[in-house]
């Protein structure tokens, strides 16, 4: 065991853990949310990464996250074809087919909804813990 093996981590199922603004039960109905990087996994991490495995059995998929904002930027990355999603940015709603990226600047209110398909979504928040990035006066 060396000095740096702490930087190589295995993902784990976020399971029933809460995620602020998100309905975890509904979210899990789409598929498991896997934690790939956070400060609990790597003490020095300044990126927060989740991967949501998604399979919409009865389109359109459910609402599972309220409008919210972060103090830091975020990206939704849909790396593979096969998913249609709706993203709200400010007061605009856009429908997009994967593969695609949505970049969300700090403090821009946003939400996402999976309409149909199956695949993965990579959520990257440019900060440590997800909750620490939430903007205080954004949200409901």
């Amino acid at each position: 065991m060396g000095s740096y093996d702490k930087y190589i981590v295995k993902p784990f199922d976020w399971a029933e853990r809460p995620l602020i603004h998100h309905d975890r039960e509904v979210m899990n109905g789409l598929g498991p949310l896997m934690a790939f990087l956070n400060t609990d996994m790597v003490d020095e991490a300044d990126l927060n990464i989740f991967i949501h495995h998604i399979d919409v059995e009865n389109p359109p998929g459910p609402d599972y996250v309220g409008i919210h904002a972060h103090d830091v930027s975020q990206a939704y990355v849909f790396p593979l074809p096969g998913i249609k999603f709706e993203v709200t940015l400010g007061d605009e709603t856009h429908v997009v087919d994967s593969p695609a990226t949505v970049f969300i600047p700090p403090r821009l209110k946003h939400t996402v909804k999976i309409i149909e398909g199956s695949g993965i979504e990579v959520s990257i928040v440019r900060n440590e813990k997800y909750e620490q990035s939430l903007a205080e006066d954004a949200g409901e």
Partner: protein, 131 residues
Amino acid sequence: MGQYEKLIVKPFDWEDRDLIFHSASGLGELGPLIAFLNREMVDGADLNVFVHHIEVKGEEGPDYVDVHVHDVSQAYVFPEPGLTFEVILGEETYTADSPATVFIPPGLEHNLKILRGKGIEVCILRKGYYG
């Protein structure tokens, strides 16, 4: 077209474009490197995201990147099972199976080699361009 449509971008094949520290032929031998986010795709983006589609066809993947270092943190994310990779961190070498994440703090010399398997790697750099 709304003011935020510019924040939604489609990926593109990096093809033969230069990528500092990397051999384009070695990268291409493994599979296409797809740009998902950088500051040229989205003005003001402070994240750089590549997705590398990988399939090792021989006994072992090629060497395609020199040991190098960044001034910001980076993460290699392997979302699915199916890949075995070797990562150098400082003077230490590790072999790991996907799914896995490698976090690389600023200033730590590193390197990556795909040993075998098939899948994708998501490479995230905490600034808007690769360098």
